[in-house]
């Protein structure tokens, strides 16, 4: 290498360093976006919900929530999984039916109906809800989740929230 070239080489060096950085950034983005999208893609999927038949309305007692176990087919990755759920269904004074998910709104334990006290009680951290699902005491931040419900020909259908 002779001298003139040596003198010239600094700007050229910087040009190459910047070029390499730009190329690296391009590759980083070109790969980073697809990889991140691929990773989070299940989180972007919306679950599809259908009506699920869970009970015969004639079997329900007035004012007393009945615990009903049911299951529904859920798309689980590339499979379909039969997913167990529990709801409390009650015929209210108005004659309307209501369904509550048994999942406590605090951290998701299954609540139980205390028929003596007419309250839902959570076994985990002392959450208590009234017969309408409203918080009475304890840490739960909001009322029990009400499931969409419809009655057709004496059959009760709910939809997962």
């Amino acid at each position: 290498m002779d001298l003139p070239e040596e003198n010239q080489s600094l700007p050229r060096r910087r040009f190459f360093i910047n070029g390499i950085k730009a190329l690296a950034a391009l590759f980083g983005l070109g790969l980073g976006i697809p990889l991140a999208g691929f990773f989070i893609s299940p989180a972007l999927k919306k679950d599809k919900h259908d009506w699920i038949e869970i009970a015969d309305s004639s079997l329900l007692k007035d004012g007393e929530p009945s615990r009903i176990n049911y299951s529904y087919a859920r798309k689980d990755g590339w499979k379909t999984a039969q997913t167990p759920r529990t709801a409390f269904v009650v015929k209210q004074a108005s004659g309307e039916f209501a369904a509550f998910s048994n999942r406590c709104t605090h951290l998701g334990c299954g609540v139980n109906w205390d028929s003596a006290l007419k309250q839902f009680k959570c076994p985990c951290h002392g959450g208590v809800f009234d017969a309408q699902g409203r918080v009475v005491e304890g840490p739960p931040p909001k009322a029990l989740t009400r499931l969409a419900l419809k009655v057709e020909a004496n059959k009760i259908f709910v939809m997962e929230a």
């Binding site: 790969l31 976006i33 697809p34 990889l35 999208g37 691929f38 990773f39 989070i40 893609s41 299940p42 972007l44 990755g77 590339w78 499979k79």
Partner: protein, 222 residues
């Protein structure tokens, strides 16, 4: 970035290390800007780059892939059809596998025709042969993973070839197959070989390859 680097550099004195790794002068005969035919010296580096892409796309594909006969094919279909960029990453990994083998072979030809395998670089050639075998083993084990007809029969044929090794052939084939019939164990061990054993071996041999390369420098021009 500059400030973070400065912070680390003041404490850890990184600059000499980085200079040694990234700022290595390339002799004129291997420099594409000086010698037109020098691109043949890029083949090893390109192979390495492709292998890095394979590692990256492979790790991400494992997020969805399930190595059981019941699930494998459905999980690959799921990757292709129901994940964001899944078809792109799966395609990249598949095309990359072929590209890696091609670049390694071209690199080997370069080393051969420039006589670079000669003293003192014989050991690096030997390590290189292991690298070639490892890359081929990646291809062979990976090919089974989609668990479709082509995968199944290609592996049947491949394992029958192994069974033709004199004396220990049958034993070798059943060890790889995990028994006498292809099935659950075959798929699982091919998967584990593909994502655990081979990457570990590859890392060890690549480290040896690059260590010797830097100790000895690139071979002189013909």
């Amino acid at each position: 970035m500059g400030r973070i680097y400065q912070f680390l550099d003041e404490r850890l004195n990184l600059t000499p290390l980085l200079r040694d790794i990234t700022d290595h002068p390339v002799p004129d005969h291997a420099n594409v800007l000086k010698t037109r035919s020098a691109f043949i010296y890029c083949f090893g580096g390109i192979a390495f780059f492709i292998i890095l892409l394979q590692a990256l796309s492979g790790v991400f594909l494992m997020l969805y892939y399930s190595p059981t006969p019941e699930d494998a094919h459905a999980s690959v279909t799921y990757i292709q059809n129901e994940t964001a960029f899944g078809a792109l990453l799966q395609g990249l990994h598949r095309v990359g596998a072929s590209a890696a083998v091609i670049m390694v072979l071209l690199h080997m030809l370069r080393v051969f025709f420039t006589g670079s395998y000669k003293n003192p670089r014989e050991l690096n050639w030997v390590v290189g042969v292991f690298l070639l075998l490892i890359v081929l083993a990646f291809g062979f084990t990976g090919y089974l993973l989609p668990w479709d007809q082509k995968a199944y029969w290609a592996t049947t044929v491949g394992l029958n070839m192994v069974a033709n090794v004199p004396l220990i052939g049958d034993f070798l084939a059943s060890a790889l197959r995990g028994g006498n019939e292809m099935g659950t164990l075959t798929l699982l061990r091919f998967f584990v070989i593909h994502v655990m054993f081979l990457p570990a071996l590859l890392a060890i041999f690549l480290a040896a390859h690059f260590f010797m390369l830097r100790r000895q420098g690139i071979s002189r021009p013909l």
